[in-house]
C-alpha cells in the first residue's frame, strides 16, 4: 500500500539519547519504529506481532509498527535515525526528511539490528 513517510524528532524516540544512554537493543526498540493510523493498520492486514517493510527508490527497511489515533490516514511517522535514513534521499542537493512516498507491506521478517545496518554501510 502506498503511504507517505514523515521523519520527525520525538522526545521519547530520540537518537541522541539512545546513543548516549542506550545500547544496540534499545536503539532498535526505540528508533526502528513507525506510527500509523488504526485504519491503515486494518488496511495493511496487520496484527501487533507483525512488522512493516517500507520500500521506495532510495531503499528499503523493516520496522516495528504501532497504531496512533493522531496520525492521519495514509501517513507513517518515524523518528529520524539510521533506520529511517534507509528510505530517505536527496533531491536537488537537499535532504528529503518529509513527504516521502513509500510502499508499505506487512512482513514477518525481523527489524534489522543496529550492527546489521552499520555492517551494510561498511560492506557497500
Amino acid at each position: 500500500m502506498k503511504m507517505v513517510l514523515n521523519t520527525v524528532r520525538m522526545i521519547d524516540h530520540d537518537q541522541a539519547r539512545e546513543y548516549t544512554f542506550g545500547d544496540s537493543q534499545s536503539l532498535k526498540e526505540n528508533l526502528g519504529i513507525g506510527y500509523i493510523n488504526p485504519n491503515d493498520f486494518e488496511k495493511l492486514g496487520l496484527v501487533k506481532s507483525l512488522r512493516v517493510q517500507l520500500s521506495n527508490n532510495y531503499g528499503q527497511v523493516i520496522i516495528k509498527q504501532e497504531q496512533k489515533e493522531n496520525v492521519p490516514e495514509g501517513i507513517i511517522i518515524m523518528p529520524v535515525s539510521i533506520w529511517s535514513n534507509q528510505v530517505t534521499g536527496v533531491e536537488n542537493g537537499e535532504i528529503i526528511f518529509k513527504n516521502i512516498e513509500v510502499e508499505v507491506e506487512a512482513t514477518r521478517d525481523p527489524v534489522p539490528d543496529y550492527k546489521d545496518l552499520i555492517s551494510k554501510i561498511k560492506q557497500d
Binding site: 546513543y19 544512554f21 539510521i82 536527496v90
Partner: protein, 430 residues
C-alpha cells in the same frame, strides 16, 4: 546551587538551578527532560573519554600524541577535506573550525544548512521580521506553530511564551491565542483551548495555504468555498482574522516547512505573506521565529558571517575563501571530498543512506563527547568536553541572542574542549 544556562536545546533556558559535588551534577531544578539528559551525559556509559584509532577493524584507545599524528597523516594526504557539524560547539570552537578549514583548504558547513539556516539565505531576498524571546514573552498575543512540534523539540518554549504573564500585558494565557498548523495532531496540540485554532493541514500542502492567504491579503473574499489543503473556509477566515488582528504575533516555523528547492520555496512565500500582512494591518505586526533544535545552530551562521561574509558552506582554496554553490550535501553526493572531520554531530544516523555510505567510505575523524553511529564508523575518535557543563563559551539562542555558557565541572582527565582539539590539530599540521 548555581543558576546556569541549559544546552538541552536552542531555547537555552537561563533559569536552571544545579548543584554539584565537583565530579557530577547531582541536583537539577527547572530543566526539562532534554535538559536533564544533557547533564546526565557527564557520566553516561557511552561517554567518550579516550582518543581512539581504528586498528584491524576495531577502535583502540591511544594517546593524544598518536591520535593527532594520525590526524596529521590523513590531512596531509588530503586535498579535499570536509568539516561538518559544529552546532553543539561554542562559537570559539566554530571560529577555530573555520580557521582549520582555511589552513587545510577544506570545505566547512554546519547542521544549519540542512535545517532552518536555509531560511536565513531565503531572507536575503525577502527580508525577515525576526523577534526575540523577551519580546514574545512580554508582548505577544498570537502564537502560530507551523510545521513545528515545540512541545517535544523545545519542551519549555510554550511554558515560557504561552502561559507567561508579560511585562507589557497584565494578562497571560487568557488573552493569548495559539494556532497550530500541522498534518499530525502532535503533543503541542495538548495546550489548546476553546479560542485556539488547530489546523490539520494535508501533508506537504503548506504552499497552497500560504498562497490562499496571500491572495486574501490582496483581494478580500477570495477564500475558496471548498477550503484548501484540508482546512475549511470557516477555519481559513478565523486564521486570517487572527493574523490580521494580532498586536504582536509570532509565527514559529519548524522542519515541517522545509522543502527541497528550487521548485517550491515554501519559506520564501511564507516570508512574503508575513510582509503582506504587516503592510496591510496597522494594529501591530507579525514576526517570525526559527525553531532549530541544536543549541548553537545559529552560532555558526553568525560566526561564519562575521569572519567571512558568508553564513555557511565555506570553500577555501589557497587559504582564501572561494565562491561555491556547494553545500555539505552536494559535496558528499558528488563524492567531492577525500576525508572528513565531524564535530559534535551524527550524520551517519541522520543523513540518507546514499550519503552515509559515501561519507563512511573515506577516512572519518570524529570529535564528540558521546558514542554515535558516526563514531562507530570513524577512523579516529577524539573525545571532547561537554560545552555548557565542562567548558564555557558563547552561543546563539534560537532568536539570535548571544548567551554566555558557564563551566561548572572539569572534563574527565585527558578530555579536551572542541576548541582545544581543533587548535591542537592546527598546531600539529604546522
Amino acid at each position: 546551587m548555581e543558576r546556569i544556562p541549559c544546552t538541552g536545546c536552542s531555547l537555552l533556558c537561563d533559569d536552571i538551578l544545579i548543584g554539584t559535588d565537583g565530579l557530577f551534577v547531582d541536583k537539577i531544578y527547572g530543566a526539562c527532560l532534554k535538559g536533564k539528559e544533557r547533564f546526565d551525559q557527564v557520566s553516561s556509559k557511552n561517554r567518550l573519554t579516550s582518543p581512539m584509532i581504528r586498528k584491524s577493524g576495531n577502535l583502540e584507545n591511544v594517546s593524544w600524541d598518536n591520535a593527532l599524528e594520525k590526524v596529521k597523516e590523513i590531512l596531509n594526504a588530503s586535498s579535499k577535506p570536509l568539516l561538518y557539524g559544529f552546532s553543539t560547539s561554542n562559537c570559539e570552537a566554530q571560529a577555530k573550525g573555520i580557521q582549520l578549514a582555511k589552513k587545510i583548504n577544506g570545505f566547512i558547513d554546519s547542521n544549519s544548512v540542512i535545517c532552518l539556516g536555509k531560511a536565513l539565505n531565503i531572507a536575503k531576498e525577502t527580508g525577515i521580521t525576526l523577534t526575540t524571546l523577551a519580546e514574545i514573552i512580554n508582548k505577544t498575543d498570537l502564537i502560530v506553530l507551523w510545521g513545528s512540534n515545540a512541545a517535544e523539540s523545545i519542551p519549555r518554549l510554550l511554558n515560557k511564551i504561552l502561559f507567561s504573564r508579560g511585562k507589557f500585558r497584565m494578562t497571560g494565557r487568557e488573552i493569548k491565542t495559539i494556532i497550530i498548523i500541522d498534518p499530525v495532531k502532535t503533543a503541542s496540540f495538548g495546550v489548546m483551548q476553546l479560542r485556539d485554532l488547530a489546523l490539520n493541514i494535508h501533508t506537504g500542502k503548506d504552499l497552497d495555504l500560504i498562497r490562499v492567504l496571500k491572495e486574501e491579503c490582496c483581494k478580500e473574499g477570495s477564500f475558496p468555498k471548498e477550503g484548501v489543503a484540508g482546512i475549511d473556509e470557516e477555519e481559513l477566515k478565523r486564521l486570517f482574522l487572527n493574523l490580521m488582528g494580532a498586536e504582536n504575533g509570532v509565527i514559529f516555523i519548524g522542519q515541517g516547512l522545509l522543502r527541497p528547492l528550487p521548485e517550491v520555496n515554501v519559506i520564501k512565500e511564507l516570508f512574503e505573506l508575513v510582509n503582506l500582512i504587516n503592510l496591510k494591518q496597522n494594529k501591530g505586526r507579525i514576526s517570525v521565529g526559527l525553531l532549530g533544535g541544536h543549541y548553537n545552530m545559529f552560532g555558526f551562521d553568525q560566526i561564519s558571517l562575521s569572519l567571512t561574509g558568508k553564513n555557511h558552506s565555506l570553500q577555501f582554496s589557497n587559504n582564501e575563501l572561494v565562491n561555491t554553490e556547494d553545500t555539505i550535501i552536494t559535496k558528499i553526493e558528488k563524492d567531492d571530498f577525500d576525508c572528513s572531520i565531524i564535530v559534535g554531530t551524527d550524520p551517519i544516523s541522520h543523513f540518507p543512506y546514499s550519503l552515509s555510505k559515501k561519507l563512511a567510505s573515506k577516512p572519518l575523524i570524529v570529535i564528540d563527547n558521546r558514542k554515535s553511529a558516526t563514531s562507530d564508523m570513524a577512523e579516529i575518535v577524539l573525545p571532547s568536553a561537554i560545552t555548557g557543563i565542562e567548558c564555557e563559551g558563547l552561543v546563539y539562542r534560537f532568536d539570535h541572542v548571544p548567551i554566555e555558557l558557564k563551566k561548572i565541572l572539569n572534563p574527565p582527565s585527558g578530555v579536551l574542549t572542541d576548541e582545544e582539539i581543533l587548535n591542537q590539530i592546527i598546531q600539529k599540521i604546522g
